[in-house]
């Protein structure tokens, strides 16, 4: 019974943190929806850990709890891969912006230079 309480409370806290982050506009919706769905799935499971036992049996897993653990690890792995992908994309974007910025800065100083020469030229 104690364990059920601990897991249920954990699920609830996670749910509240996500809602609070969303409320403060600190989390993009695409991620928020994912984590909200996870909490909504996890809370009933923490209250009734035997819920998945029949599904586990179908897959040849001894207990529903092990199945949840397995799925959890797979899920987290996928999330990590996704985040690496996002970071790579962001790095590519900042790289392009940095290059464009340097290019613009060079063009600008050249234009200023040219105008100076023309301004100083009496003809």
């Amino acid at each position: 019974m104690k364990l059920t309480l601990v897991t249920a409370l954990t699920g609830l806290v996670v749910l509240l943190v996500i809602i609070e982050l969303l409320r403060r506009r600190q989390l993009r919706e695409k991620y928020a929806i994912l984590w909200l769905a996870v909490s909504v799935l996890i809370i009933p499971l923490s209250l009734f850990p035997r819920l998945l036992d029949s599904v586990a049996g179908l897959l040849g897993v001894a207990s529903g709890v092990s199945l949840v653990l397995f799925l959890g690890i797979v899920f987290l792995l996928l999330v990590c891969v996704h985040l690496s992908w996002e970071v790579s994309r962001l790095e590519e974007e900042t790289r392009t912006i940095a290059e464009e910025l340097a290019l613009l800065r060079t063009e600008m100083s050249q234009t200023v230079h040219d105008t100076d020469i023309r301004a100083g030229d009496p003809t």
């Binding site: 790289r95 940095a98 290059e99 910025l101 340097a102 290019l103 800065r105 060079t106 050249q110």
Partner: protein
């Protein structure tokens, strides 16, 4: 033959204040008709200011991107200003600008020309894992390019308009990707890659690394980059 092509020399530089001025002056002395663009890759010293003083156009990146980022910027500049040829030269003075006309001549029947060590001129030597890495790289890339390439990691290159167009869009930032992967991609897109032998000089400043551990890491990274480059579309 008088040179009618618009020529841009791109020099990527990171904290090269000690020799960038000398390199820029030498390039301008040897190639008076060329424009020199120094890409200051987020240096914390006076590299940019010294290069500008020596008469180069300076493009300063807000933070360090790596040689690939600096080079793509160089090719973008070349494309935007309609240059016919972009030649990349290292900032440490190991590339002799007197070989640039030789590279340009070879562009007549190629899109990319690599100035290669080990190809007969000069006495550049390496040993151990670094040598094996270079041997594997040159074997595989020679096969991909359909021509003999002995020094695929050389940063001394000339590119015509077709290659400028490609490199302005595609130039990996990863270490070694900037040299190895560009060759693979260029060949895949049907560009012709050739090499001409050049002698490299000792660097004006700084020392090349010779530790065996670093050389082994270099081997691993080179092979990874190569395999990935071949797998990529």
């Amino acid at each position: 033959m008088t040179e009618t092509r618009q020529l841009l020399i791109v020099i990527p530089a990171l904290n090269e204040a000690a020799c960038i001025g000398e390199v820029v002056r030498e390039v301008r002395g040897e190639l008076p008709h060329a424009d020199v663009l120094v890409v200051d890759d987020g240096s914390t010293d006076a590299t940019g200011a010294i290069a500008a003083q020596a008469g180069a156009i300076v493009a300063r990146l807000p933070f360090n991107l790596g040689v690939g980022g600096a080079m793509r910027l160089g090719y973008r500049y070349g494309r935007a200003h309609g240059y016919d040829v972009v030649v990349q030269v290292d900032a440490d003075g190991q590339h002799d600008p007197r070989y640039v006309p030789k590279l340009l001549d070879a562009l007549d029947d190629a899109d990319i020309v690599i100035g290669a060590r080990f190809a007969g001129e000069g006495d550049y030597r390496v040993r151990g894992p670094r040598r094996w890495a270079m041997a594997v790289l040159s074997m595989v890339l020679s096969w991909v390019a359909g021509t003999r390439l002995t020094d695929t990691t050389s940063g001394f290159r000339a590119a015509n308009r077709r290659a400028i167009e490609l490199f302005a869009e595609f130039y990996p930032v990863e270490y070694l990707g900037d040299t190895v992967e560009t060759v693979v991609t260029a060949c895949r897109r049907g560009l012709r890659v050739r090499q001409v032998p050049v002698a490299m000089r000792r660097r004006l400043a700084g020392t090349p690394s010779h530790s065996p551990l670093k050389a082994t890491i270099y081997l691993g990274r080179a092979l990874t980059v190569l395999v990935l480059a071949l797998l990529r579309r």
